[in-house]
Amino acid sequence: MILLTRKAEFSSAHYYWNEAWSKEENERVFGRCANKNGHGHNYTLEVTVAGEVDPVSGFVVDLKELKEILQREVVGVYDHRHLNLEVPEFAARTGMIPTTENIAIAIWGRLEGKIPGAKLHRVRVYEMVDLFADYYGEL
């Protein structure tokens, strides 16, 4: 078994807000991240897949195909968007708060089962170079 990692980048806006809480409670817990005008990051996504090496192609997955899947499923949906306002899984009331952890979980949900010949192993999302979240599909 080989692990293969592909990177992609997207730049998005977000804010943290729990609709069940008062404004004061949101500001106390989330601090500056609760500013409803939003703020943004250059996110770096690392998707690691696990699989056997095809004896003919020598590939675990076709990287071009993986790149296209990441583009279609994630980058095309998140890049230069406001996550809270434009991406359904982070919509107010029905969605998750777009923290780094939840972005990794949501990306797992977008990619799982869509990569031919390989199993999703890890989704890593860097919000900044000194902060990142990992999700391994653990419920």
């Binding site: 729990n18 923290t99 952890e101 979980i105 949900g109 990992d134 999700y135 419920l139």
Partner: protein
């Protein structure tokens, strides 16, 4: 998608890991009282220089656990940063590691530093420390703790 969002709002959210990277600059000298002077030189080479030398360590602290359903977070980052500031950076940053109590009995190799940082973060109450990874230089790194993604 809706399935995962739904799970994340239940009391036991999916398990994820959060890694925070800190910088720490310190000096050390690798020298063991158990070795003779010649043996120290043979084992530690230039790291045995009596005057010591230093590194800009990159310290990665990984905490793991269920994502809190109300905050979307594994742990409060402000709490983690505060703990790191008090218990790691204030004690170790801009210091000579050999002069610290933690390294009186053990040589301040980055292996031992990694285990010590892991031990320190076991006292963090905001989330469970899963792993410590330390880059001594761009060419050397050390990991201690659990294998991630194994429950």
């Amino acid at each position: 998608m809706a399935g995962l969002a739904q799970i994340a709002r239940q009391s036991a959210g999916p398990r994820a890991y959060l890694t925070r990277r800190y910088r720490l600059s310190a000096s050390h000298r690798l020298h063991s009282e158990a070795y003779s002077e010649e043996e120290n030189k043979a084992v530690y080479g230039k790291c045995n220089n009596p005057h010591g030398h230093g590194h800009n360590y990159g310290i990665e602290v990984t905490v793991g656990g269920p994502v809190n359903v109300e905050t979307g977070m594994v742990c409060d980052l402000v709490e983690l940063d505060g703990f790191a500031q008090t218990n790691l950076l204030r004690r170790f940053d801009q210091k000579n590691l050999n002069t610290l109590d933690e390294f009186h009995e053990v040589v301040p190799t980055t292996e031992n530093l990694t285990r010590e940082v892991y031990r320190i973060f076991q006292d963090f109450r905001g989330a469970r420390v899963a792993r410590i990874r330390i880059e001594e230089t761009g060419n050397n790194s050390f990991k201690y703790g659990e294998e991630l993604g194994k429950g």
